[in-house]
């Protein structure tokens, strides 16, 4: 689950009295120019220009907290930071618990709400199957190079029986949210890994497949004939 590094995006932390990292304080911009930052967030055209202008006009520079940038970037990074901080607090306790969140209850409700704030997804009304319908009704397939912050990455798997025969094709198993393109152009995503699971970040491909006795999330795969498994707003 290790992503490639990025010089532009860094995480910063707060420390507790025992000098343990307690909170993900902020995602920081370090070396990037506003235009480069916009590119790595996947912003284009007017949106990118507006972003860069806003960045420059506000006199923002290295160390800026992405959650405070406003727009989709600020909204999404605000949630990412909160949830990673909550996860860290549970990790420090060492009991194996994950943060409770009935709205961002699993991968599907998390990626739907991050993509569209009015999606209204929660643990009661959402599922991986509902997420496929949400995608078909609201989003469009796109290429990896066109990923924009908040876009959805879908993971599907052919389910098999004990004889190895395929029983269902391309069943949705997992969803993540694109948050930035690393300096070496590897898509980085945020995810809740399963119902009541971990809030975590990593490379998009790092969430594919199975490791050890873990649940198998399959591969990055589009619905039906959609070629990529990456989806953004129409």
């Amino acid at each position: 689950m290790r992503p490639s590094g990025s010089d532009t995006f860094r995480q910063d932390y707060a420390y507790d009295k025992l000098n343990r990292i307690s909170t993900v304080n902020e995602y920081q911009v370090t070396n990037g120019t506003p235009a480069e930052l916009a590119r790595q967030l996947g912003l284009k055209g007017n949106e990118a220009e507006k972003f860069a202008k806003n960045f420059t006009e506000k006199g923002l520079s290295d160390g800026v907290e992405l959650a405070k940038l406003g727009g989709d970037t600020g909204r999404i990074y605000g949630i990412v930071q909160d949830k990673l901080s909550d996860q860290r607090k549970e990790d420090i306790k060492g009991k194996g618990d994950n943060p409770y969140d009935g709205i961002l209850a699993d991968c599907s409700s998390t990626s739907a709400n991050l993509n569209l704030p009015i999606a209204g997804a929660n643990g009661k009304n959402w599922s991986v199957l509902v997420m496929d319908v949400f995608i078909e009704n609201n989003l469009t397939s796109k290429s990896e190079g066109d990923l924009r912050i908040g876009d959805v990455v879908r993971y599907g798997l052919d389910e098999t029986n004990s004889k190895g025969e395929i029983t269902s094709r391309n069943v949705p198993k997992h969803f993540t949210t694109f948050i930035f393109m690393s300096d070496d152009n590897v898509p980085q995503v945020f995810s809740r890994s399963g119902v009541g699971g971990r809030f975590e970040t990593g490379s998009a491909s790092g969430f594919a497949g199975k490791f050890g006795n873990d649940v198998d999330y399959g591969n990055i795969r589009g619905i039906g004939r959609d070629s990529t498994g990456y989806y953004g707003r129409r």
Binding site: Q11, G102, G123, L129
Partner: protein, 247 residues
């Protein structure tokens, strides 16, 4: 005021008693049967096979859901491991500490007809043997388990960021686990599926499970909580090396 403190103290004692009472009903014990080390280009994979046993240690039988996952045959009949940690005592320290932990991936919400059918079958006055197995007091239920741990061999970019994956594990392996004494493994299993409950915006109280727990009291105690194993001694020197590997 004194009275309130006394009542509070009694409540706390009773609550503690309730928790320990519940914990005494079921134990999860484990024994490592094999350890394999696989040397990969960028990491060391440690695969551990175990014989696990649920042991009903209370006065009443313990009832467990049979893990009848409706769609995924790979999960069916298997208890879902959710968390693992390795403990040990470093030469420089006097107390055991956690040297490694790993949260497993979990299934996402499916809420399919298959799950509805299981709920319907469970929602019965009579215990359904197709869905529930009973462990009588003093008896055990055995199952095989496998856990894998990955230790990166070198630091990747940004490896000082603990939230970026599990980067510190290489250091842990080389600098801590290697020198630690009394290594032990503790694993957590999910026994009752979240899919059998509604996922409300309040902390999940497992209302469906609680209803069945009350209803089936005459048969035994329906176990709903995740269960943490007793510490399992871990001897890495007994590991079989798949390819050349230096621990």
């Amino acid at each position: 005021m004194k009275k309130i403190y006394m009542i509070l103290a009694v409540c706390i004692i009773l609550l503690g008693f309730q928790v320990s009472k519940a914990d005494e009903r079921l134990k999860l014990l484990g024994k490592i049967t094999s350890i394999q080390l696989e040397n990969k280009e960028d990491s060391l994979l440690v695969s551990i096979r175990l014989k696990m046993s649920f042991q009903a240690t209370g006065n009443v039988p313990v009832l467990l859901w049979k893990q009848t996952y409706p769609h995924d045959e790979n999960l069916r009949g298997r208890f879902l491991g959710t968390f693992s940690k390795i403990f040990g005592m470093l030469p420089t320290e006097k107390e055991e500490k956690i040297l490694y932990y790993h949260s497993s991936r979990l299934p996402s919400i499916q809420r399919t007809q298959g799950w509805q059918d299981i709920k319907k079958e469970l929602d019965s006055e009579i215990l359904q043997s197709t869905q529930i197995q009973s462990i009588k007091s003093g008896e055990t239920l055995d199952f095989d388990a496998e856990w894998s741990f990955i230790f990166l061999k070198k630091k990747a970019n940004g490896s000082n960021d603990p939230l970026w994956g599990y980067s510190s594990h290489f250091d842990v392996l080389s600098n801590e686990i290697k020198t630690a004494k009394n290594l032990s493994l503790q694993v957590t299993y999910r026994v009752w599926s979240s899919e059998l409950e509604l996922h409300s915006d309040r902390k999940d109280k497992k209302p469906f499970g609680k209803k069945l727990q009350k209803r089936w009291k005459k048969y035994g105690y329906l176990w709903l909580d995740d269960i943490v194993s007793e510490p399992i001694p871990l001897d890495l020197s007994s590991a079989v090396v798949k390819t050349e590997s230096k621990l």
